[in-house]
Symmetry: C2
Subunit: 437 residues, 2 copies
């Protein structure tokens, strides 16, 4: 990525014990060649829709139109959906609203991804429903949690505002064809947008699933796509895997797993606005690779906070983790520690420094300390954090995940193990019903 | 815990492959006997202050007085502090404010535990400073992040409200004796409360560090202590380790690590209000046990959300995790899916059910699925979620951590590895200063 400086300290020739043997790494890296070729072919013949998204612009007109309407009419927008239907939009939107309120003129977004009745009651009691819109996202249109949320919110609006209001308050994203969500929404006259059936939830952030919430938050969806396109184009244009950063990342992760039994991967941004991005990555990596008894376990951390929570374990616990730090240059940023208030001899190192100076020093100190403790560490150093960088990061990690799946011999796009639990949930609800009615 | 029903499915005789051999477990459990005896002795001679907290009440008068004053004067209370100075109060306070606004009459609490300049600027720009109080927590009084936050907030109040206002806006918690925070706060006339020097940050939730924010949020600190006392008393009164739930938990965790190489422990509450509790546990476990190359890695998950993110990995990835689910009975709770709106044949299992019914069914389906996939699983089933239960859960996990440390042969109360990074941060800040001034 042109706007990212990437440093890798994962090899035994530098790290010593615990690092990856460079010959083994090169073997792994060479094995990504076929997968890269496959991705090139799939982009050329449009058989993997995900790869067409970065260059697409024609669908953004409708995204912008719906977003403008939502921004115009609503002070609050509740996004109903879970997993991939929630985390992409949430990650991008965090660029505009990092937990301290929306951008001027934008509604506040509420990403409701759970079915905790206590939370839902609190949300609905606190919202001014007459100024609230709902965006309901379920690819299959059959997700039990999302349907339950949707039907309960529909009833709340109907009770408070009347049935005639329903059609203008809810916008649905679901795949084409027949499904329960589409049938109900259609009957109630709600607007329905198509979820691309060829793009799974955890790969949908660059589609309208992630970009519509981002546009409502006041962000530029085209810039997210442009950033993703830069990373995708660079990866597929390279003439060898050693020039493809996502391939290098995949070869390191799988190499460390195979050679060093490093089965945990920690993603640790030093930026509050990337905390949700960590959740998005965690789903992408876990659900794509965790199958057939293999995969590595992603952990979402946050600097500097987790220096005071997890760093002791990271530095001195078992040698079973690799670390990806995401740093954002912030020297001179933020407020300054006043010289007179910090006129304490023990605080001379802080007096006159900004909060960003401290963040800078902590980032680099932690990176140095991890490496000094022989922990495989790579660093994404961002020159800025905006829509373009976010799109680039997302594409980087989607490609890295797909290539790691290739090396592990698993399908990055399925999630077969979770179906049984969904069945069981339906049966239990239906069964309880029979005994109580 | 009398108000918790605990189910354990971690043994090979039930789980099959991947479970813990019961004989090995009993060996581990027997080894907790000496540690329990040690805890009894330390409670009797008051040499471990943590164990005296549950029964203490005399310090709560000042907690309640400060809380009443803060509640009276402020609409917002910013809690400055990181790690153990933040997570205990945040976990308990989440019972009153789960992200959807404070209890009626209570100020909104902002737990600021990072030094991201972007977040801090957003916070200070959004707060009405004339109605904002600050609680500053640092045991040592030398934490760089907390001092930086404190001095920047002090300057913000001084600029907006005048120097005379400073003494009434800030309350400090730090240990007795001389330190930078205490010196500066003393000079500015701020109220200073004593942090017990014998209680480390990650074990401080039951002290004023955790209970003052909770009281400001409108919760009952005495009830938190009472719940902790029930668990502590039951553990120390039992005549054998097999009647001590925290000892059983520690023996399972260490047994699974030693015998099955299960090095990851997932804490997965099915309650939004326990999401922050997961962060508290994650620090407690990681920082207490992750040393000398041993320890297991805690993961904070959340049901049902992570069923759509991590469950694929949990069920079908490597056999390297144990699971602790925390469930809260919620049948019939929350809003009901209206029969007419859900009049779709495929939704008959949902029609007329409540959101809580769905949550109930999902909890038990996931537990069954984990066990069916031979994943060691235990379940805390809570009869309610209030201050007493929170205090009990905290004491359970503190004891389990201390006993696990005993089995692993590490000191649960130190964190030696992180000191080097702190030194490095100070040097880098001081060094940069020299080159730029």
């Amino acid at each position: 990525m042109p706007y990212v400086h990437l440093t890798t300290n994962c090899f035994a020739d530098f790290l010593g014990a615990g690092g990856l043997d460079r010959t083994y790494f090169e073997l792994m890296l060479e094995r990504t060649r076929a997968a890269l070729e496959d991705l090139r072919a799939k982009r050329a013949d449009a058989s993997l829709p995900l790869l067409a998204l970065p260059a697409a612009r024609d669908d953004l007109d409708s995204v912008m139109a719906v977003a403008a309407d939502f921004r115009d009419r609503f002070d609050h927008v509740v996004v109903l959906g879970t997993g991939g239907s929630s985390l992409g939009g949430r990650s991008i939107s965090a660029l505009a609203d990092g937990g301290f309120g929306p951008r001027s003129g934008a509604p506040r977004l509420w990403f409701m991804d759970n079915v905790d009745p206590h939370s839902f009651d609190a949300l609905l009691a606190g919202l001014e429903l007459s100024r609230t819109g709902f965006l309901v996202i379920s690819k299959s249109g059959t997700t039990a949690e999302t349907l339950t949320q949707f039907l309960i919110c529909t009833e709340a609006v109907r009770s408070a505002q009347g049935e005639a209001e329903l059609s203008s308050r809810f916008t649905i994203i679901t795949e084409p064809g027949d499904n329960a969500l589409r049938r109900i929404a259609g009957r109630l006259g709600m607007a329905i947008l198509d979820h691309d059936p060829g793009i799974g939830g955890r790969y949908s952030a660059l589609s309208l699933v992630g970009l519509l919430p981002a546009a409502i938050a006041g962000l530029d969806p085209a810039a997210v796509r442009a950033g993703a396109a830069e990373v995708l184009d660079a990866a597929l244009a390279a003439d060898a895997p050693d020039k493809v950063e996502p391939a290098i990342g995949a070869a390191i992760a799988v190499g460390l797993l195979r050679e060093q039994k490093i089965a945990t991967t920690v993603l640790m941004p030093y930026v509050d606005r990337l905390a949700d991005f960590g959740l998005w990555f965690r789903q992408l990596w876990a659900e794509s690779l965790g199958k057939n008894g293999t995969g590595t376990t992603p952990i979402r951390a946050l600097g500097t906070v987790d220096q005071h929570s997890q760093l002791q374990l990271y530095l001195d616990g078992p040698h079973d983790k690799m670390f990806t730090l995401i740093m954002l240059g912030c020297a001179d940023a933020g407020a300054r520690v006043p010289e007179d208030l910090a006129g304490d001899a023990s605080l001379s190192y802080l007096a006159g420094r900004t909060m960003g100076d401290l963040m800078e020093a902590e980032q680099s100190a932690t990176a140095s300390t991890l490496v000094a403790n022989h922990r495989p560490t790579r660093i994404f150093r961002l020159a800025a954090l905006d829509e373009r960088v976010m799109g680039g990061l997302m594409m980087h990690f989607m490609l890295e995940t797909i290539l790691a799946a290739h090396l592990l011999g698993v399908d990055p796009f399925d999630q077969p193990a979770v179906e049984h639990g969904k069945e069981l949930t339906r049966h239990r609800l239906a069964g309880e019903r029979e005994t109580t009615s």
